[in-house]
């Protein structure tokens, strides 16, 4: 089952990369795309964590989650700053 979960995690990471490229082409913005990629990578880490729990996979999932949280908070902070500077018009700015 661990091998199956590892394969699933790989697929999810690949899906995330392709989705991020699609979203980048569609949106032409950097911040939301990075947040989306972090979401998919977190999903991959969570799937891998469901298999055989080891300290390695634990550390991996924890660091992915922490990076993702930091990125999300920083990008949202920056986006809201840009939105406020523009008079509250847009939700995000182009990177």
């Amino acid at each position: 089952m661990t091998a199956l979960l590892g394969q699933a995690a790989l697929w999810v990471a690949a899906f995330g990369l392709i989705s991020a490229v699609c979203a980048a082409i569609h949106l032409r913005q950097v911040q939301p795309v990075v947040a989306l990629l972090a979401d998919f990578l977190l999903a991959a880490g969570l799937i891998r964590l469901a298999g055989e729990p080891s300290w390695d996979s634990l550390a991996l999932a924890a660091s992915t989650g922490a990076v993702r949280l930091l990125l999300g908070a920083a990008l949202r902070h920056r986006a809201s700053g840009i939105g406020a500077r523009r008079g509250g018009g847009g939700g995000g700015g182009s990177g």
């Binding site: 699609c22 949106l27 998919f40 969570l46 634990l58």
Partner: protein, 142 residues
């Protein structure tokens, strides 16, 4: 009853049953996350293929809606995995395993908490944008 060589509920049977249940529940959580990822992937592909969109629609609105659904799938899968953790505490025999269990449960609980807050923030953003668009299309917003 000195020669009692059978138990009503042998510990090994309990171990096997809990182990099987934990595997099923954790696999269910992983399946939920995987399905959510596949669904979001298909939606993003459609979003990338569909070039034409209504004049007033913002591209970020559709994107946010899909990301919100992905976040909900992630939160649901995390709940399943937390359930598996709680079940596993029934049969944790060594301190090493208990430590791992505590770390996993802490990570998943923290992630679930922050994910919930993020989902709430994004939901409000989606509602604000759609209300803004509706107000801009028909009448000035109050």
């Amino acid at each position: 009853m000195s020669g009692m060589d059978w138990d009503l509920l042998p510990e090994s049977a309990l171990h096997r049953a809990v182990d099987l249940t934990v595997r099923l529940v954790e696999f269910g959580g992983a399946a939920v996350i995987f399905i959510g990822a596949v669904w979001a992937f298909v939606q993003f592909l459609l979003l990338g293929v569909r070039r034409r969109r209504p004049r007033n629609a913002r591209p970020i609105a559709g994107f946010n809606r899909i990301r919100l659904s992905l976040g909900r799938f992630l939160a649901l899968g995390l709940e399943f995995q937390l359930a598996g953790d709680v079940l596993r505490t029934a049969i944790a025999p060594s301190f090493d395993q208990i430590g791992q269990l505590a770390a996993i449960a802490a990570i998943r609980t923290g992630l679930n908490f922050f994910l919930g807050r993020e989902i709430e923030a994004e939901r409000r953003e989606v509602e604000r944008l759609s209300a803004h668009d509706r107000g801009g299309a028909t009448a000035p917003a109050p």
